[in-house]
């Protein structure tokens, strides 16, 4: 286990370095931030001064090494636009996105697993057909359209739920979140559903496939021959086997949900990190973009690590560690 953690840690650092280089050069290649930042009627002297103060007059490699050196000291640079540390901009927005994503994920799991089980245990029945058809819609209708339809139905026509913003936030155990007030919750429902519909369909299908593949296996029949109740067979014998693929996919998807919550955040004006990223790319605000991607990559690495640890808990055949 220790060997596994150390090796994984070293790999992560390599991944972070490579990401930093690629993103840094990529943003540099897109355009000159000075063009976006300095007003067209500034004098050449003013212009030169701003460029020098941002360090944009130096060659690329020098800019990169300044960034890298500062990054090693925990400073990911200041936003060109807001003139504030980019990392604090990100951490201001991150909780809103995390809250949205995790709620969406929990929703997808709480609904998706039971529906998938139902569908898998009664294949080719009316229930199964309805669930499967529903999941096709979840898969194929574009997210932004689903979001607009949700607003149309629940906010405009029915007037049940608010359509924009995060609402009131409550504080609980030092955490500030919309989850802790009723108003906040009502604001959270629509965007969370919008974000989770695709994942919900995915979870349903994965669970159904898992059930269909596991039920005919010998150990299920053997469990029946032992006189084990059908409920225990489904929820212990079969379910624990399905968890393995489910955890893999959910781990990957959680990362992509965090990173690409942009669409949902834009539709519902959710003050999350996705919106910040889009704005920063538009303004070529390099420090924010680089810092954002480094944070997201770190999250991905962390999630994958958790997935690997969960594996070893669920599947005894997986033992984390070096070659033995």
């Amino acid at each position: 286990m220790t060997v596994f953690v150390i090796r994984r840690f070293l790999q992560s650092i390599a991944v972070l370095c490579v990401t930093a280089v690629i993103v840094f050069i990529g943003i540099y290649a897109i355009g000159d931030p000075a063009e976006m930042l300095i007003s067209p009627d500034a004098s050449p002297a003013e212009r030169a001064q701003v460029v020098a103060s941002l360090g944009l007059d130096k060659p690329l490699w020098e800019q990169f090494f300044t960034f890298a050196w500062n990054a090693l000291h925990g400073d990911l640079g200041r936003s060109f636009v807001f003139n504030r540390p980019s990392i604090s901009l990100i951490f201001e927005r991150l909780p809103a996105t995390l809250e949205l994503t995790l709620t969406g994920l929990v929703f997808a799991l709480l609904l998706g697993i039971p529906l998938g089980l139902l569908s898998g245990l009664k294949p080719n029945t009316a229930t199964d057909e309805v669930i499967m058809t529903g999941s096709i819609f979840g898969f194929s209708l574009p997210s932004f359209w689903q979001g607009m339809m949700l607003i149309m139905i629940f906010s405009v026509w029915l007037g049940w739920l608010p359509s924009t913003g995060r609402g009131q936030m409550g504080e609980f155990l030092g955490l500030r979140s919309s989850l802790f007030t009723l108003d906040g919750l009502t604001h959270l429902i629509l965007p969370a559903i919008n974000l989770s519909l695709f994942k919900l369909s995915l979870v349903i299908r994965l669970t159904r496939t898992g059930v269909r593949e596991t039920m005919p296996l010998d150990f299920v029949k053997f469990a029946r021959a032992k006189g084990i109740s059908e409920r225990r067979i489904v929820f212990v014998h079969v379910f624990k086997n399905i968890l393995i693929p489910l955890i893999t996919v959910i781990g990957l998807e959680l990362g992509s949900m965090l990173a690409f919550a942009v669409v949902t955040e834009t539709i519902f004006a959710w003050p999350g990190i996705g919106k910040l990223l889009i704005d920063s790319i538009m303004r070529l605000d390099r420090p924010v973009v680089v810092a954002y991607l480094l944070v997201i990559v770190s999250l991905f690495i962390f999630i994958n690590f958790v997935v690997d640890v969960l594996y070893s808990l669920v599947d005894p055949r997986v033992r984390l560690g070096g070659a033995q």
Partner: protein, 323 residues
């Protein structure tokens, strides 16, 4: 001797898209107390489905369509699913063919054994665990206490089959159905397991139905033998009698295809042709296309002839002057 199990005219059919597949067709037999019965046949002859039918474990689209399965006088086919569950694993246990597949890979051996104890008896976890440990010891697994917390992949094939046998023994059932339990094992392990099961069956007074395609195994183990062909029992009787003086041409065909039974140097004589597709069995005797003794009458259904301690379904049985 009162029979533990009495199967009467059992038919199990599979309703497939291409028609009705008669996997088990009008099968009748009895298993006495402490008796070891070998059920022999080639792949697809319906011997495994017969075993599953007894336990009510035939998967759709298969279904027991008719017959009676009297277990200690009670018809299992008339039982509610709940009542049937209290029989399975408790009074009738089953051992499967592939020990690699019968244990759940993600649950520890302890979990899989304790749940079996607790499915039938209201006992504490500690007591269930103690019973599981004793059962492991009984089947010859060294240091059972430590092995309990292992997972199936940490056992070899033979050891896994011992675990499966230990699970079957947990409740000291009246009857164990063993579906080719040694087929997937090495020859040396095979004979160990064989010996082990025979010893335990005798020790606990259990009856045993041993399903196999291996005549040698059945000859070494069973008291009585039943030969199945195309969903039917074509011949049944005491092992010695059937193997030395088979009446049904299929049985004698099987015997002359066994390497050990044929004198050295003499060629094996395989039965010509193939078993008929279960979807399109000929009327009458299903073996007649492959049978040297067949005549026109074989196109009609041969009835069960019961003579002394032997029964067979054939119009032209071998006659043995000594008998």
């Amino acid at each position: 001797m009162t029979p533990v199990l009495e199967v009467k005219n059992l038919s199990t059919h599979f309703m497939t898209r291409r028609g009705i597949l008669k996997a088990v067709d009008d099968v009748s037999f009895t298993v006495g107390e402490r008796e070891i019965v070998g059920l022999v046949g080639e792949s697809g002859s319906g011997k495994s489905i017969t075993g599953f039918s007894i336990l009510g474990l035939v998967d759709p689209p298969g279904r027991v369509v008719s017959g009676q399965i009297l277990f200690n006088g009670e018809d299992l086919l008339k039982m509610s699913p709940g009542a049937m569950r209290t029989i399975r694993g408790k009074r009738i246990a089953m051992i499967f063919q592939d020990p690699m597949m019968t244990l759940n890979p993600v649950l520890s051996v302890a979990t899989q054994m304790i749940e079996t104890v607790q499915a039938h008896d209201r006992v504490s976890r500690t007591e269930a665990r103690a019973r599981a440990r004793d059962a492991l010891g009984l089947v010859g697994i060294p240091s059972p206490e430590e092995r309990l917390d292992s997972y199936p992949h940490q056992f070899s094939g033979g050891m896994r089959q011992r675990v499966a046998i230990a699970i079957a023994l947990l409740h000291r059932p009246d009857l164990i159905i063993a579906d080719e339990p040694t087929t997937a094992l090495d020859v040396t392990i095979q004979s160990q397991i064989l010996f082990e099961i025979k010893r335990l069956a005798a020790e606990f007074g259990m009856a045993l139905i041993w399903i196999s395609h291996d005549l040698g195994v059945v000859a070494a183990l069973a008291d009585r033998i039943m030969v199945m062909y195309a969903g039917r029992i074509v011949e049944a009787g005491q092992v010695d009698g059937v193997l030395t003086a088979p009446r049904h041409p299929y049985t004698s065909g099987l015997l002359s295809a066994v390497p050990a039974a044929v004198p050295r140097g003499e060629p094996l004589r395989p039965i010509p042709g193939f078993a008929p597709s279960p979807l399109s069995r000929p009327s009458g005797c299903a073996f007649r296309d492959r049978c040297a003794r067949a005549t026109d009458i074989c196109a009609t259904e041969p009835i069960r002839s019961i003579a002394a301690d032997r029964e067979f379904r054939c119009f032209h049985p071998h006659l043995w002057s000594a008998a």
